[in-house]
Symmetry: C2
Subunit: 137 residues, 2 copies
DNA sequence: CTGCATCCTAGAAGATACTG
DNA sequence: CAGTATCTTCTAGGATGCAG
């Protein structure tokens, strides 16, 4: 929400770090928009939730695929790679044949996931309220 | 996360209320997936945040459009309508010429917005960490 | 088992013009 | 001012086949 300078909404002529003290999701140019997109696209949030709620050993690719119903192989791979680049997901390749790869949250990822889980949790609890409101309108 | 019965992941043959105690974002059939989509699509979240953070009088359409940079008229109208149907947004039409319409959050909307704001807030604060991680990889 | 490469489509989003 | 209607564009996502 806070900008270094006052020219709100112009094209950036310099790098991010010189222009923003912190991110600003309302600004079209702010990179936080992009990261927000990663988290809020169709599968990003669900992956974070799955990894966060997991109590047992780290998930393998196919376990995640089974858990997150409806996700395709391609999208799961793509999503995991994105989240890994953002520093949210830790990928561990055991370098064996047949392949064995595990996914878990980084400390940073665990922090975002808290908020995503909070949102999803609220939704699951209030879904009936929402649906009944829709029928009325 | 909790289902009434055990047949996890099958096609629903009965209505929602008979099958789910609460929502389950992991289930492809659960309506919470759809609502989650409304909140996490390109503009839904930003609208909720804008309305939530607003301290002054309720926003008018054009004010929202100016605040949320990059949103088109069409998408803003569409998004507001969606959120209104979900029971998150209150639309007040003053029935005057020229038109004067105001948007605010319903109590339900204010609740979801808390979580969305929390997520965006975390993001804005940690965007530098994320960006620096990306450069390394 | 864990992917990547390719191709293809539905639906999201944008541009523009118009109206009460 | 606050939209709607129409048309076009774009891209996220799905299907399939193959590889280490």
């Amino acid at each position: 929400m806070k900008r270094v300078d006052e020219e709100y909404g112009q094209q950036p002529k310099v790098g991010f770090s010189e222009r923003f003290i912190r991110g600003d999701v309302f600004s079209a140019q702010c990179p936080s928009r992009e990261v927000l997109k990663h988290i809020t696209n169709r599968w990003g949030g669900l992956v974070l939730i799955a990894l966060k709620l997991n109590q047992g050993p780290a998930y393998r690719f196919s376990e995640l695929r089974r858990l997150i119903q409806g996700v395709s192989e391609k999208m799961l791979a793509q999503t995991l790679k994105m989240l890994e680049q953002d520093g949210f997901v830790q990928r561990t390749d055991f370098q064996v044949v047949p392949p064995h790869v595990e996914y878990s949250l980084t400390p940073l990822g665990a922090e975002v996931a808290v908020h995503v889980v909070g949102l999803a949790d609220w939704l699951e609890e209030h879904i009936q309220d929402i649906l009944s409101h829709r029928k009325l309108s």
